[in-house]
């Protein structure tokens, strides 16, 4: 004897109003309304506060420039003598892959007018959010003097070690002619930096931002340095 096949119950056709009520978008009306409202509120907050935040960053940049170019010891010595570097901002536009990238460059000179070095502001994607860096160059642009992290939101305890002096110091005195490489377990070649344990992506991001900026700016900055020399 064969089993009678089971017939699923015919679904009852829901009414139009019932269907509308079940619609995901209609159910989520409050989420959508709140998202719109909060989005507008955040845009307002951003419009109000963004200039202030940008000014804070610029201030910090000017404070950090002597340290990035001269190192903390020499910078302190200069400050103790009551002297400061004269910093002049420029913008440099670079055409790359049909995109125009604009860099802010700070030209730093000693009080007697001699060129002390260059600092470029650059940014790129990190592991969590955008990383903003200041990158220092010697006057002849052939060597990095150091880097400083202006803004980052990397993982606490791992990726955020990119802000530590110990890690940043690896970038001081690296040559700009060849790209910097990230290694795990002991930098041996001259243009290598050690990755932070557990934060290889953050380490690579910072190095990538530096390499890009160096590649983009070595030419223009050398030209600016030469023009100054004349």
């Amino acid at each position: 004897m064969s089993m009678k096949p089971l017939h699923p119950m015919e679904p009852i056709e829901p009414g139009k109003l019932e269907r509308l009520k079940r619609n995901y978008l209609v159910q989520a009306w409050l989420v959508l309304m709140l998202a719109l409202f909060f989005g507008a509120a955040l845009a307002g907050v951003h419009l109000e506060l963004a200039p202030k935040i940008a000014a804070n960053k610029t201030n910090e940049t000017y404070v950090k420039i002597p340290e990035i170019i001269l190192g903390s010891e020499l910078a302190e010595e200069l400050a103790q003598q009551g002297e400061a570097l004269i910093v002049e901002p420029h913008t440099v536009a670079v055409e790359k892959e049909q995109r125009r990238i604009v860099y802010t460059i700070y030209e730093a000179s000693y009080p007697d007018g001699k060129l002390a070095g260059w600092v470029a502001k650059s940014s790129g994607q990190g592991y969590a959010d955008k990383i903003e860096l200041l990158i220092g160059f010697t006057p002849s642009v052939d060597t990095l003097t150091g880097i400083f992290v202006l803004d980052q939101k990397e993982t606490p305890g791992l990726g955020n070690k990119i802000i530590t002096l110990d890690w940043r110091q690896q970038f001081s005195n690296l040559k700009t002619l060849q790209p910097i490489e990230v290694t795990k377990g002991g930098a041996s070649d001259p243009n290598q930096v050690d990755a932070i344990t557990g934060a290889t992506i953050s380490s690579r991001s910072v190095t990538g931002i530096v390499n890009n900026a160096v590649a983009d700016l070595r030419g223009p900055l050398t030209a600016m340095a030469n023009a100054r020399g004349k």
Partner: protein, 209 residues
């Protein structure tokens, strides 16, 4: 069903009997991470208080419109908005502190104290009760952060609020500033609170008996 606590009860409960850190063991990430100095701890406590208060008020205001399966999304949306406002505000007006706390301010979004209060109190009770609840819990959180930060800053660097308190001869216990110091201090303080609580309830028991 039990009667919902009154606003005054909500406020008192949050400070010690239901202290978010010592009794509920919630919000431990910032508790461990930003308590190596009192200034950072107080800034974090203030930021959490602002977000908690605003989130509780907004959630309570719209509590009749919440659908059970969409409530968590809405809580998160509300919390994320106020956290972003706090983050931008600190970057604009307390830039140094904003850099010091770094990602811990955006991470308030996932601070479970706040979503817990939205779920337990604000989505069920009046705006007044929700506000009192937020103030009580925020005070409790601030108390916890400040007590841990005071121990760590004092033993770790001999200072309170970056002012030297202990004699210069104090050998700074660097480990107190480092993460292990946070775990040890939290563990000992939670133990102490539990011990007092147990003694208190035993006393109450014997008085009754």
């Amino acid at each position: 069903m039990a009667v919902a606590p009154t606003p005054a009860e909500r406020f008192i409960q949050g400070i010690l009997p239901e202290n978010p850190v010592y009794r509920q063991l919630l919000g431990l990430c910032p508790t461990l991470a930003v308590t190596n100095g009192l200034q950072a701890a107080l800034t974090m406590a203030g930021a959490v208080a602002f977000v908690l208060f605003c989130a509780n008020i907004v959630t309570s205001t719209i509590r009749h419109l919440l659908k059970p399966h969409l409530r968590i999304v809405i809580f998160t949306l509300i919390i994320a908005t106020f956290v972003t406002i706090t983050d931008r505000f600190l970057a604009a007006y307390m830039y140094g502190m904003s850099k010091l706390l770094g990602p811990y301010i955006p991470l308030i979004i996932v601070n479970c104290i706040i979503i817990c209060r939205c779920e337990v109190c604000a989505s069920r009770q009046s705006v007044f009760a929700a506000g009192a609840d937020a103030l009580g819990q925020a005070t409790g959180f601030a108390l916890a952060l400040v007590s841990i930060a005071a121990v760590r800053e004092l033993l770790g660097s001999g200072m309170l609020f970056s002012v030297q308190v202990l004699p210069e001869s104090w050998p700074n216990w660097v480990i107190m500033i480092l993460p292990p110091g946070a775990f040890m201090t939290l563990g000992l303080l939670v133990g102490a609170v539990n011990w007092f609580e147990q003694r208190r309830s035993e006393q109450a028991e014997s008085e009754r008996g």
